[in-house]
């Protein structure tokens, strides 16, 4: 019996428009998610998460870039840690960055609510695993 996969609601927080286009396109081609909301920086995403109007429509997963103007990935994580307990939903956060600096990688490892660190552009297999795991959790 084929169980229809529940739709995965994803956020991408990244100011690189071309990358965001490609990322969305890839998720759609690979049939991973058609529900991708884009934010140009951490500040926009936090505002969206905080807005009570969006409480029923929170993401399952957030893909977060590190280097962005206004509010970068680290600043976003600081605010996210503060509000996540009030969100009432487990949200996985993946860093999606072209930085291969070991400082960045170690720093991300030390933040408990970050699930993993993925190097840009993207590893399609890894992405498929992530979504598979997410659906597994959603089914339980």
């Amino acid at each position: 019996m084929i169980i229809p996969a529940p739709a995965v609601n994803a956020y991408i927080i990244d100011n690189n428009k071309i990358y965001v286009y490609g990322f969305k396109k890839l998720l759609s081609i690979k049939d991973l998610s058609n529900q991708v909301t884009h934010f140009n920086n951490g500040s926009e995403a936090i505002a969206h998460l905080r807005d009570p109007d969006n409480a029923q429509n929170l993401p399952d997963i957030i893909f977060l870039d590190l280097s962005m103007p206004v509010m970068d990935g680290w600043e976003f994580m600081k605010e996210f840690e503060e509000i996540k307990s009030q969100l009432g939903k487990k949200i996985s956060v993946y860093i999606l960055s072209s930085s291969i600096d070991s400082h960045d990688i170690d720093r991300a490892k030390n933040i408990p609510s970050i699930s993993d660190y993925i190097f840009k552009p993207v590893d399609v297999q890894r992405l498929e695993e992530i979504f598979k795991d997410l659906r597994g959790i959603a089914r339980q």
Binding site: I18, P69, P121
Partner: protein, 492 residues
């Protein structure tokens, strides 16, 4: 022949002769007229011989016992008519088994019926003489060492505050005469900023028995400014109070200056290295980001079959291509800073360059209706690399326009200032400002952008800072959000 064998006529003379034979000194007697010579028993024994073991004769004395170089001294004393007794002389005599020893010899003439008689004594002073020679060698050695080390010693008496200085101190001070100096006068030889330092150190040593070891700038009497090491150690009495400070003053100028220049080149290198590393990291990150996107788009192009998707993807590929180009150009600009640094500096006029830039971006200024004021009267010219100055002024001006406040007419002020030996360039605007508590030093970082301005590339201020610092200057920023920004640039 010995005195005791001599046929002295009376008991007292016999008694005296016995005493003479037994003391640890040699006595001799010489009759000028008869050329007769007598040696006491002590004379033999002091030279290590048994009595009469060697022949008592002038020939033996002068040719065998007396060191040939000391003959002149001895003969001079023997014939010296002016002083009687003659001054004691020091001569070397050959001993039986331990080579030449030093002896002190006194000579006294006497006239009696038989004619002119000369008496003399010899005392072995070899040990003292050796010690004295050693001491003088040590003195010489010590003096040489101190001179080589450029080291002088001094002492302060805590009760009287009397200062005693060694000869070498005067050499360091380059004072001809060893004049008496007070503590105050000595302190005044140090350069003004170091005077309180040394004075405090001396006071603390006197009051709290604290030793000190300082490196200070010092101006000699001949007006040479040198680095010296001043070290002082308190000597305490049984109550633990300082009674004396003893110390040294050492000329460490050449070492200190080498050390300082080494330190500054090390700082410079560390700084350059850090910047280079940062630069390499940023460049690789930026290039990676573009090439990653390019790879991403090419893959997507292959994956998708829809014509409209392919058109869009291709448009993105074109845009990545131009971004890559821009990044390479930025790289070029940064490399140019390093290559242009060897270019000749020339005298440039701030006003001429500023006006050129203004006319180049005239349309931009007019579009914003910006008011631009300048005043270079305090320092109209500077010796600088012209390309750098053009770039610095252009970057700051376009930056000020780019981040102008939409609610008011942009006002930009640019002026120069001269302070001491430095030339400053000040750049002020009433733009949107930047939160420095949050971004701080990152303002001058590469590819750091802080506002959602589509024109922001994060390269301008990075290049500006590099150009300024390449010529030994500094740039500082002060800013208040919604009020404006002020750049203070120390050019030279």
């Amino acid at each position: 022949m010995s005195f005791s064998e001599d046929k002295f006529s009376d008991d007292s003379r016999l008694h005296l002769a016995q005493i003479i034979d037994n003391i640890n000194a040699g006595i001799w007697e010489y009759n000028i007229n008869t050329r007769a010579i007598k040696w006491s028993a002590g004379f033999y024994s002091i030279l290590g011989y048994d009595t009469n073991e060697i022949e008592c004769s002038n020939h033996i004395f002068f040719e065998h016992l007396l060191y040939h170089q000391d003959k002149a001294v001895f003969l001079y004393a023997l014939n010296d008519q002016n002083t009687n007794p003659a001054k004691p002389i020091q001569i070397r005599l050959l001993t039986k088994s331990s080579g030449y020893h030093w002896f002190e010899s006194t000579i006294k003439r006497q006239y009696d019926t038989s004619g002119q008689i000369i008496y003399g004594s010899i005392i072995n002073i070899n040990q003292y003489k050796q010690a004295e020679l050693q001491a003088s060698r040590n003195d010489q050695h010590y003096g040489d060492t101190i001179r080589i080390a450029k080291l002088g010693s001094w002492e302060i008496d805590a009760a009287t505050l009397n200062l005693t200085l060694s000869k070498q101190i005067y050499d360091i001070f380059e004072l001809q005469a060893e004049i008496k100096l007070s503590i105050e006068e000595t302190v005044s030889f140090f350069e003004p900023p170091y005077r309180p330092v040394i004075q405090n150190a001396i006071n603390n040593a006197l009051e709290f028995c604290q030793p000190y070891d300082l490196e200070l700038l010092f101006r000699t009497a001949k007006n040479h400014v040198i680095w010296v090491r001043a070290k002082g150690v308190p000597i305490i009495n049984e109550y633990g109070r300082c009674v004396t400070i003893r110390g040294i003053l050492q000329d460490i100028d050449s070492n200190k200056r080498k050390g300082l220049s080494l330190e500054s080149s090390l700082n410079l290198l560390t700084d350059q290295n850090r910047r280079l590393q940062n630069f390499a990291y940023i460049v690789s990150h930026n290039l990676r980001s573009h090439t990653g996107n390019l790879q991403f788009m090419v893959n997507l192009y292959e994956e998708t079959e829809l014509a409209e998707d392919r058109t869009e993807i291709f448009a993105h590929i074109k845009s990545i291509s131009s971004s890559l180009n821009a990044t390479i150009e930025h790289l070029n600009e940064i490399v140019k800073i390093q290559t242009e640094i060897t270019n000749e500096r020339s005298i440039i006029s701030f006003e001429a360059i500023f006006n050129n830039i203004q006319s180049a971006i005239k349309s931009n200024i007019e579009a914003l209706n910006a008011r631009i004021e300048y005043d270079f009267s305090q320092c109209p010219q500077i010796s600088y690399i012209p390309a750098y100055m053009e770039s610095i002024l252009q970057n700051l001006l376009t930056n000020a326009l780019k981040y102008s406040h939409l609610d008011r007419q942009p006002l930009i002020r640019c002026y120069t200032m001269k302070e001491r030996n430095h030339i400053y360039l000040i750049f002020e605007d009433n733009g949107i400002g930047i939160d420095l508590d949050r971004y701080g030093d990152k303002v001058f970082g590469m590819y750091k952008t802080f506002h959602q301005n589509p024109d922001a590339k994060g390269i301008g201020l990075f290049i500006t800072r590099n150009q300024i610092e390449a010529l030994g200057g500094t740039i500082k920023i002060e800013s208040t959000v919604n009020i404006g920004t002020k750049f203070t640039i120390k050019l030279v």
